[in-house]
């Protein structure tokens, strides 16, 4: 996938600045790295279609999601972009399997078959034991994996993850990092992963895009970026 976006932003932390981001991503995990307020989350939201850039172009595979020059701006629903939110956003009035089944679309499918597929997905993430639990009765790690399972169940072409491990303790984090890597290797679609944690970036990333105050400072392999990074952390 390929993204080029420009957007003027008002941020309460650093006044207003312009987001100017361009990068390409293939099969693998692309880390969006930077301080808070650098524009990482906004970039994700632009790719998902939650916010509209002032100008630019977003392409995923053969599909153009956004092109200001040709006035193309697909709705969120049409974009086939999975999103794992920072606080997971699991629907509190649905069980884990109902959450995961929610995004599964099969024309003419009965609820039963969608739940079946949801259970298969949960099994892949080793979540069978929580499938009938509500989010508030699940641990942080279980919620995170459920959120990822839900995003993947909707058969996306791209997955966005917004600091998904920031709320988990270090021990669970290590286990979850492996899960994310394994999940990506299973589906073989681009993952765009936002974090400000260097360790995560090094463990997970196929490439790293460093953002600072709205613009891209560096793109490269984790080893390159974190050994001779121009950015102080």
């Amino acid at each position: 996938m390929q993204v080029e976006i420009k957007k003027r932003l008002e941020s309460d932390k650093s006044g207003s600045f312009t987001l100017d981001v361009a990068f390409a991503a293939g099969d693998g995990i692309t880390i969006l790295f930077g301080q808070s307020g650098a524009g990482k989350t906004t970039t994700l939201r632009a790719i998902a279609g939650i916010v509209t850039p002032d100008s630019g172009r977003i392409r995923v595979g053969e599909q153009i999601l956004f092109d200001s020059a040709r006035a193309i701006n697909l709705s969120i629903q049409k974009r086939r972009v999975g999103y794992v939110f920072q606080d997971y956003a699991l629907f509190p009035h649905m069980t884990a399997e109902q959450n995961v089944a929610y995004g599964i679309k099969e024309d003419g499918a009965r609820d039963a078959s969608r739940l079946e597929r949801a259970r298969e997905m949960l099994a892949l993430f080793k979540l069978e034991h929580v499938r009938q639990r509500y989010p508030q009765n699940m641990s942080g790690g279980e919620q995170q994996r459920t959120a990822l399972a839900r995003a993947l169940a909707s058969d996306p072409a791209l997955v966005l993850l917004d600091e998904p491990l920031s709320a988990v303790d270090a021990e669970t984090r290590a286990m979850l990092i492996d899960e994310v890597v394994m999940a990506q290797e299973r589906v073989r679609i681009p993952f765009i992963y936002v974090t400000h944690n260097t360790a995560e970036a090094i463990r997970l990333g196929t490439q790293v895009v460093v953002l600072h105050e709205g613009s891209v400072k560096q793109i490269g392999q984790p080893s390159e970026v974190f050994n001779k990074s121009a950015d102080p952390r």
């Binding site: 709705s75 969120i76 972009v81 929610y102």
Partner: protein, 220 residues
């Protein structure tokens, strides 16, 4: 002559509440999610009947819908029918007076739902309509139900506007509140007390039932 006004009240209030629930929900949604010019003006307009004395609202209603009214006259000329002095007028009066309560409650309830949930639903490919019914509505359920109960009880006690537009016609438009008023004015204290007791009983039952229904709701 106790059952006539009771039957009429139940009919009028049931029809009115059904219409208020759907219309109020739609308007609440519009005001909660809409971003258009004059939005707050529209909101204030719908809150008006809450602020005006019901008799004044009723006065405006009959001025508008009576046979010489802005809307009523053309309708009458076209169909020979006028809404004044019919039970439908009682429904209309109840709607006008109780709708604001539903709209305010629905709007607040919908606004209280974390938009993150709705966005998550969109990213999972669900339409705005499906998201409203499967995510927003269930999560806003308690506030919306409160709005329905509020407007139900308001419609049940509606008097001033009902009288102006529907008249106080025993057997045809005399709802419980009107029957109570007439009993008091005519010195029929016993009848007034019985009617008032029944009305209170119905209202209390309605509120109690609703609180039982929402008792089992998960706290988010």
């Amino acid at each position: 002559m106790i059952w006539e006004p009771l039957k009429l009240s139940l009919l009028v209030v049931t029809v009115a509440t059904l219409i208020i629930a759907t219309l109020g929900l739609a308007l609440g949604l519009l005001l909660a999610k809409g971003r258009f010019h004059g939005q707050e003006l529209l909101a204030s307009f719908f809150t008006l009947p809450l602020v005006l004395p019901p008799t004044v609202s009723g006065y405006y209603l009959i001025v508008l819908l009576g046979r010489h009214g802005l809307i009523g006259e053309p309708v009458y000329n076209l169909t020979g029918w006028s809404v004044a002095f019919t039970w439908q007028a009682a429904v209309l009066a109840a709607i006008v007076l109780a709708l604001p309560l539903m709209v305010l409650s629905a709007r607040a309830a919908i606004e209280s739902v974390n938009p993150q949930f709705e966005i998550a639903s969109y990213t999972l490919g669900r339409s705005w309509l499906a998201t409203f019914f499967r995510i927003t509505l269930p999560l806003a359920r308690r506030g919306i139900l409160a709005g329905v109960v509020l407007s139900f009880t308001r419609a049940l006690g509606e008097f001033g506007a009902t009288f102006m537009l529907a008249g106080n016609i025993p057997g045809k438009t005399q709802t419980m509140p009107l029957a109570i008023y007439e009993a008091v004015i005519s010195g029929e204290d016993k009848r007034a007390q019985i009617l008032a007791l029944i009305l209170t009983g119905v209202s209390v039952a309605a509120v109690y039932l609703t609180s039982k229904l929402t008792k089992g709701a998960i706290k988010y």
